[in-house]
């Protein structure tokens, strides 16, 4: 059996096309290829061809480059201001992604405060940079105003939902942030002014440069004053809001406290009745008695008289326990 197979295999070894035959077939095939060209006139396959899933190396290189590029663009975009090429990346990608993390209304409000701070940083940066067009500065200021308005909206929402604590906290955060930025901006702008005036003094010796510097100084000081005023206005508004909320919620809490005290008095009366039937424990009774005494100190003596028999009942509760 093996012998026959061996014979066949040996025969197969010597069976092949002669060179002439091979060339003849090849010529015929090339003629066919020329007359029927590929409808996909491809050039050399790209090492990054995504269609070719076997090309794992190319795809992985592409992914790595994409990640590196995306990461560096995103990082570079963080320092941009309106008018920069990557500014939309900062607004529409970086901030959107970070905003997704903020889920609760509280976290969202915090993120809005942070965004307002970022917009303010941009305004400050533009004010301290020479040769920035007025349009860009206005756009940045509008962005800042819009972001503070957003924070105010958040505060209003908290108020609507009777969440005084968060409303107050957000208003405080905004006011704090604006206060800090105002101080920092004052420092920065004064330094800048000194350096610019120093430069102008030095340049006074060379008359040719003098003319080119003086308009910049004017533009800078005007925009710096403008920004300072803007921050001050926003800060004043935020502080005002904070104060309003504080007063409002303080009054509310006092009112609540009073009503609570009254509740305790009523509770005491009812608890006295209950303890007489032996249902209350000693600690609760003690606590209520202490609170009651406190209230009695503040209340009018005439109001106390109907509750006076309580003291006689207390030992009864002790006996029960």
């Amino acid at each position: 059996m093996e012998h026959i197979i061996k014979q066949l295999k040996n025969g197969a070894k010597h069976t092949h096309l002669s060179l002439a035959e091979k060339a003849e077939i090849k010529t015929a095939l090339l003629r066919h290829v020329k007359s029927n060209p590929s409808i996909f006139a491809q050039s050399a396959p790209s090492p990054f061809s995504v269609n070719n899933f076997r090309n794992k190396k190319g795809i992985s290189i592409l992914v790595i480059i994409g990640l590196l590029l995306g990461g560096s663009v995103s990082f570079a975009a963080e320092k941009t201001v309106p008018g920069d090429v990557f500014y939309p990346v900062k607004i529409h990608i970086n901030e959107q992604v970070r905003g997704v993390v903020a889920v609760t209304p509280k976290a969202k409000a915090d993120w809005d405060v942070r965004k307002a701070e970022r917009r303010l940083e941009e305004v400050e940066k533009l004010a301290l940079t020479p040769d920035v067009s007025q349009e860009v500065k206005i756009a940045a200021e509008e962005n800042f105003n819009a972001s503070t308005n957003k924070v105010e909206e958040r505060i209003a929402n908290f108020e609507k939902e009777n969440d005084g604590e968060d409303a107050e906290r957000t208003a405080e955060k905004l006011a704090d942030m604006l206060r800090k930025r105002e101080t920092a901006f004052d420092k920065k702008s004064s330094k800048k002014r000194v350096s610019v005036s120093d430069a102008s003094f030095a340049d006074l010796a060379t008359t040719t440069v003098e003319k080119s510097i003086s308009p910049d100084i004017e533009v800078n000081s005007a925009s710096i004053d403008n920004v300072r005023e803007n921050i001050r206005g926003a800060r004043g508004k935020a502080e005002q809001k904070q104060k309003e909320l504080k007063n409002k919620y303080r009054k509310d809490s006092e009112r609540k406290h009073d009503s609570l005290e009254k509740d305790v008095v009523i509770e005491d009366n009812s608890s006295r009745e209950k303890t007489s039937s032996g249902n209350h424990n000693k600690s609760f009774y003690k606590r209520s008695r202490e609170r009651k005494e406190e209230i009695h100190r503040t209340l009018d003596k005439s109001d106390r008289t109907p509750n006076s028999p309580q003291s006689d009942d207390a030992p009864k509760a002790d006996e029960n326990d």
């Binding site: 090849k26 015929a28 290829v33 996909f40 006139a41």
Partner: protein, 172 residues
Amino acid sequence: MKPNATEQEFIKAYDQFADAIFRHCVFRVSDREKAKDIAQGTFVRVWDYMSQGKEIDNMRAFLYRIANNLVIDEYRKKKDDSLDRMRDEEGFDIGFEPRHDIENKDEYARAQSLLECLPDKYREALVMRHIDGLSVKDIARLTHESENVISVRIHRAIERMQILSKNHGTHH
């Protein structure tokens, strides 16, 4: 004109597999000229497929599949012409003498002659396994049969060749 990537791939496939495909065809049809035609036709079909922008995952398997289909077409043509071939297809008669001049041929030619006596399906399996060196799994995939069927065909093909060889005193 510089050949594009598809052309280059096609030419490379021709240079690499032309002899193997031709050999397969020779052992299937036992006619050198016909085998040449079938081999050429195989590559023409491959180009027609590639030129449409379709991708070929396994060029070798693809070539054997096309060649096999063309050989089957050739058998059909023959079948129409020959009643003898028809009898081979339906069932091989052991007592049948395939070639009158079988003793006069050398060993290889005798083996070839014995191969010619096999029904096409047995011949197909045997050539693919022992001439082309394809695995049973690959053959099963190419012929759309189960691996078990292919193994049985190969075994029976060898068995029949042995009997034929004994009958004509060619077995050593």
